[in-house]
């Protein structure tokens, strides 16, 4: 994953609430076995409407999306984050995110920036014709005017973003701790690892 320190440029001034993952990427796009190319299906139902924000040439290729409350609710599909990343989005600003989407965003180099509703309203106004900047170093969102909105990020997640770290690799380095937990588990809860295995894929275990 590429390190992210600042995201700067035009932003889709959308502000829509409760945008679920079916809107971000409809289910029929999920039949893929790779992560690439999902940008084509992003916001398909929104883009079917005339004068939608995603086909407005003023915002073409914007790296930032401004949305309303509860962005990314619904299914756990990481395809939603892959689709946003594929269309070039590196930061989403909203008053709140679904827990699962927020985790998926981090893992794909997209910064989920939580700001209060009034800050989001102001940014929607500004972004109509001005660029904005999300800075991970100072943890602020700024505009060409005097606006400066501070946000918070989980320190570990922030570090992973800024250094482009691979979480699986980091956890594998904790092998010893995991192994010792498994040792205790074998004592205390032996039924966890000791479950019955399937003898064949077609076993009709009743």
């Amino acid at each position: 994953m590429n390190p992210v320190t600042t995201v700067s440029g035009t932003a889709y001034p959308w502000g829509a609430k409760n945008i679920d993952t079916d809107v971000i990427i409809p289910a029929h796009w999920l039949k893929t076995i790779t992560r690439a190319g999902l940008g084509r299906g992003a916001f398909e139902t929104v883009r079917a409407q005339p004068d939608n924000i995603f086909d407005d040439p003023r915002y073409a290729g914007a790296p930032i999306l401004i949305a309303g409350d509860n962005f990314g609710c619904g299914s756990s599909r990481e395809h939603a984050a892959w689709a946003l990343a594929d269309m070039g989005i590196q930061a989403v600003i909203a008053p709140s995110f679904s827990d699962i989407f927020s985790g998926n965003a981090f893992k794909n180099g997209i910064v989920p920036v939580v700001l209060p509703q009034d800050a989001v309203d102001r940014l929607v106004e500004v972004a109509k014709d001005q660029p904005i900047t999300v800075d991970l170093e100072t943890m602020t969102v700024t505009t060409p005017f005097q606006d400066r909105f501070a946000f918070e990020l989980d320190p570990f997640r922030r570090e992973c973003l800024m250094k482009g770290l691979d979480e699986v690799g980091l956890t594998l380095a904790r092998d010893e701790a995991i192994g010792s937990f498994e040792g205790q588990m074998a004592e205390g809860r032996p039924w966890i690892a000791g479950r019955q295995r399937l003898d064949a894929p077609t076993a009709g275990t009743a």
Partner: protein, 481 residues
């Protein structure tokens, strides 16, 4: 020194901490991992690319469900018939190959045990109280019905669990949703959970793990509890929990993958220590009275858009919040509904009885009780899709399939079916479906499809009347006993 009283959630969390980081996030051990074809190919691909193995294959179980057509899938020799859609076939094939390559247990589409991942887990006894359980699917919350801390994860996390058997997580806040009293005639677990989501809202549980408590929940069967916990995510919660009790142990005992012999006794003894201690404090508490819960359904495109069947389509102007007003207007436009219309005057063209919310044996019994000796209304297509091959078999042993078929319902093979538009079962644009599934989002059942979420009995009532209908007004073999 007496220990501080703890909630069920806190106890399960504490039992799974591998390491606590200075910032409070924890490396949490994952006891059970369910895998299906849609959210796993990229995870296995990631392992392969990095030359990594599956750490503990015995803790993972894979089964296809989302993409499978629900038409007969075996030929006369019991072999899998080809899947017409090449992309679905490719994903299904990838699951078969990946699980074989990495040594993960896999239930094939031709097996009697195959079914929707969230039906299969409890049914096989793979899901156990006090475990941490994950799956690349948001309705994993269902497994909380057995007292497992169960939640949906993204594909990168699927890869993380396969490789490390852990996840890095921050503790959630806790929320108690207490439902006390006695449910009225014709009111089921689905109506209870719709009432809960209607009350707390689709984002009401964000950041929280909900524990469902109270006499109504205690008196529910495991099937009913699964329906409730399944939809925790529709209220925004990370997971939903129900404390394990005698009902849970009786349900699990003897299932293929549960502990055996002395391990069973040891497990039950531990499970009995898990329920929330008296005096433990939740971050938030919400209460509902069973007497206020009617057969419910949704009118809009969010699961929080709940109204009793005796109600009317709401007027967007009646909402105080301006953004909710705007959303309601859009919803009604999409749903093709006019404010003030009685819900019971709304005609439907499709009925879907199935999904991980309502496809277990009790659900099918409730629908069959309404369908018996009746006919599906003209112009209505009604599907009954059992949640697994074992549910299907049991229903057939009880004769439920014949009741449905005689009434004009289609009796299908197990899978996700019309719950989401990923397999051939779809609702055409502009048409209306009474559905026992869990999501009424725009386009969920097909582009332009209009969904009303409701209980199995209410769905059957809609099928035989051709409109949204109060099941309490139909005499039913079950109700009249």
């Amino acid at each position: 020194m007496a220990q501080r009283p703890q909630t069920l959630y806190e106890k399960i969390w504490a039992a799974h901490v591998v390491e606590r980081r200075p910032d409070g996030t924890c490396l949490i051990y994952i006891d059970r991992h369910l895998v299906h074809e849609v959210t796993s190919p990229q995870a296995f691909e990631g392992l392969r690319a990095a030359g990594r193995k599956v750490r503990r294959p015995e803790l993972t179980l894979a089964v296809p469900d989302h993409n499978l057509p629900t038409t007969p899938r075996k030929d006369a020799n019991g072999n899998l018939l080809p899947i017409a859609d090449p992309e679905s076939a490719q994903q299904l094939d990838a699951l078969r190959r990946n699980t074989a390559e990495f040594g993960v247990d896999y239930i094939d589409a031709t097996a009697a045990a195959q079914g929707i991942v969230h039906v299969v887990g409890p049914e096989q006894g793979f899901t156990l109280p006090g475990t941490t359980l994950v799956c690349g699917d948001s309705h994993t919350s269902a497994h909380g019905a057995l007292g497992a801390l169960a939640f949906g994860i993204g594909t990168s996390e699927v890869e993380h669990v396969l490789a490390t058997q852990t996840l890095l997580l921050s503790p959630s806040k806790t929320m108690e949703v207490r439902v006390d009293g006695v449910l009225g005639h014709g009111v089921s677990a689905k109506d209870v959970v719709l009432a809960i989501i209607g009350k707390i809202g689709a984002a009401g549980g964000t950041g929280h793990v909900i524990e469902f408590t109270g006499s109504v929940i205690r008196n529910l069967s495991i099937e009913g509890r699964l329906t409730i916990a399944n939809m925790s995510i529709e209220g925004g919660a990370r997971a939903g929990l129900i404390a394990p009790d005698e009902t849970t142990f009786a349900y699990l005992k003897g299932r293929p993958m549960v502990p055996k012999g002395a391990d069973w006794d040891k497990a039950v003894a531990w499970w009995r220590t898990l329920p929330t201690d008296p005096g433990a404090v939740y971050d938030k508490v919400v209460t509902l009275d069973a007497a206020d819960i009617a057969p419910n359904l949704t009118w809009g495109t969010s699961p929080e858009d709940v109204v009793p069947i005796t109600g009317v389509v709401p007027d967007p102007d009646s909402f105080a919040d301006p953004s909710k007003r705007e959303a309601a207007r859009k919803s009604l436009d999409y749903m093709g509904l006019t404010p003030g219309t009685a819900m019971q005057d709304v005609p439907i063209q499709h009925v879907f009885i199935g999904s991980c919310t309502n496809s277990r044996i009790e659900d099918l019994r409730a629908a069959a009780a309404v369908a018996r000796d009746r006919k599906v209304a003209d112009g209505v297509r009604a599907l009954v899709v059992p949640g697994s091959g074992l549910v299907k078999r049991q229903a057939e042993e009880e004769g439920l399939d014949r009741i449905f078929v005689q009434a004009g319902f289609e009796w299908r093979e197990p899978g996700c079916s019309m719950c989401l538009a990923m397999n051939p079962d779809k609702v055409p644009a502009g048409e209306r479906c009474a559905s026992t599934s869990n999501r009424n989002f725009v386009g969920r059942q097909g582009p332009g499809a209009r969904t009303h979420l409701l209980s199995p009995a209410m769905a059957a009532a809609a099928a035989v009347t051709g409109r949204l209908f109060d099941v309490r007004e139909l005499k039913s073999h079950d109700f009249d006993r």
